[in-house]
């Protein structure tokens, strides 16, 4: 049997802000961002389901936009700002409104998909504050996250309530600010 010759394992130092804290660490260049968060930073709230971008369990907020942490390399996150599910609740333990809404509407059961849903819904509210959303649009907005327990009804009800709340508190929708304002 011939031995396969692999390139030397390369390591890089990266520095990034995670939930408002600057973290510096050495990473192998082939590490996924999801594994870096879970194994190196011990932030195991970001779950790993399919590892190919289908299930949505690893969704996090990267530079203000939702992404799949399993579809990025950790080395690519150097210099970025990340928000994970651990950064949602207040330090005193008070739940974030998105978490509270899922709690109130029984939007979770086993909880495996929940961190991904929370971050997807967080991004949805950030991008579409106070917007009118049809049932179909709302369900399409959640279609990138798979839940195998709840049947989605509680999750949809929670988002509906959050959108209604946002509408009553926002007088006007604010424009989405994009990288570089193109």
């Amino acid at each position: 049997m011939t031995e396969t010759r692999l390139p030397e394992q390369e390591k890089r130092q990266i520095s990034l802000s995670v939930n408002g804290v600057i973290r510096t660490a050495e990473v192998e260049t082939r590490w996924l961002l999801s594994d870096f968060l879970r194994h190196t930073l011990q932030l195991t709230g970001t779950h790993v389901g399919c590892e190919h971008g289908v299930c949505g369990a690893c969704t996090i907020i990267f530079n203000d936009a939702p992404i799949r942490a399993c579809l990025m390399l950790a080395v690519q996150a150097d210099g970025s700002e990340i928000l994970t599910v651990e950064g949602l609740a207040s330090p005193d333990g008070k739940l974030h409104p998105v978490q509270q809404a899922l709690h109130d509407h029984h939007g979770l059961q086993c909880g495996f998909c929940t961190p991904g849903f929370l971050m997807t819904i967080y991004a949805l509210l950030q991008d579409h504050p106070a917007s009118e959303m049809s049932e179909e649009e709302l369900r399409a907005a959640l279609a990138g996250n798979l839940c195998r327990c709840t049947g989605y009804q509680g999750i949809v009800a929670a988002v509906r309530q959050l959108l209604d709340q946002a509408r009553s508190t926002h007088a006007q929708p604010s424009p989405v600010v994009e990288e570089g304002q193109i």
Binding site: L6, P7, E8, Q9, E10, R12, T29, R30, W31, L32, D35, E51, H52, G53, G56, T59, F62, A65, P66, I67, R68, C70, L71, M72, L73, V75, Q76, T120, A123, L124, D127, R139, A140, A141, A143, G144, V176, E178, E179, G180, I182
Partner: protein, 294 residues
């Protein structure tokens, strides 16, 4: 389910990226948004010796109005194009197609150039570029050249780019006045790869007869398909349901889609006929609606 080892390169300029590409050519993969490549790495379906990450190359992200169209830097994220104030008025077909690409987290990272260079037969943007007759600019150390959409897509996941070339820019022509667009697809779930999709742009004369018809289908062959003969049947005709039905059947009869786990060839052909008709009707509605709005 973890990427294999590779040598990682993260150039910050085009020249650096092109130099690396010239050295490693077939042993390297270019990493743009990574929404197709990283899954392939995770599943070890591809094991490149070198990964050239383009995300630090600064001048590949832009959207500019030039030459009667939109020039879009290859690294421009789908999300940025989706929120751009230029895309909807200049290129409404592109604007209509963007929300069909994956899910919001995929569009946060996925890039316009990456989608085209990956050339998935079920992807949205190749069909849009082909329907509109757009082009891409590809660059190597030896210079750059323009590749029109109909010369770009050779086969499933294969383009006319050589191994030392980088796709740097995409150009979509502006929609002419009195035109309407529609993008329709059938997929198992929203955001999944389409089983079949249709991109359509119709331009109307002052008497509402069809002045130009631009159609492309995705998911029905190894590359996106532009049904030119069927398009010609529309020219100079009044847009009627009977005409659209006839054209849709003509398009469908000319297809030979693949059978896979998700759908049979016959089913895809049948869905294509329904979607072509639906897209043509919606595009006419959109054109007439636009007139009323002006």
């Amino acid at each position: 389910m973890k990427p294999p080892r590779f040598a990682y390169h993260d150039p910050t300029t085009r020249d650096e990226a092109l130099a690396l590409l010239a050295i490693y050519a077939d042993d390297a993969k270019l990493l743009a948004g990574g929404q197709s490549l990283v899954p392939l790495l995770n599943m070890r379906l591809t094991q490149p010796a070198h990964l050239i990450d383009l995300n630090r190359v600064a001048d590949l992200t832009y959207i500019r109005a030039v030459d009667g169209g939109l020039a879009i830097g290859a690294l421009t994220r789908h999300r940025v194009a989706e929120h751009s104030a230029l895309v909807r008025p200049c290129c409404p077909l592109l604007a209509a197609a963007l929300p069909f690409i994956g899910h919001p987290p995929i569009r946060s990272r996925g890039t316009i150039g990456g989608s085209l260079a990956h050339a998935d037969p079920a992807a949205e943007l190749p069909a849009v570029l082909l329907a509109l007759g757009g082009h891409v600019r590809v660059t190597s150390q030896h210079g750059s050249r323009i590749l029109p959409a109909h010369e770009l897509f050779l086969d499933q996941l294969q383009t006319a780019l050589t191994s030392d070339e980088l796709l740097t820019e995409v150009w979509f022509p502006n929609a002419p006045p009195r035109s309407g667009v529609a993008f329709v697809e059938v997929s198992r779930r929203h955001g999944d790869y389409a089983l079949v999709g249709v991109a359509a742009q119709l331009t109307l004369q002052h008497d509402n007869a069809i002045a130009a018809a631009q159609l492309a289908l995705l998911g029905v062959d190894a590359t996106p398909v532009r049904p030119s003969e069927a398009e010609a049947l529309l020219l100079g005709e009044q847009p009627t349901e009977a005409l659209f039905k006839m054209v849709a059947e003509q398009v469908s009869a000319g297809l030979n889609p693949m059978t896979d786990l998700h759908a049979s060839s016959d089913y895809r052909r049948q869905v294509a006929a329904v979607l072509v008709k639906r897209a043509l009707q919606a595009a006419v509605q959109h054109a007439l609606q636009g007139e009323r709005d002006d």
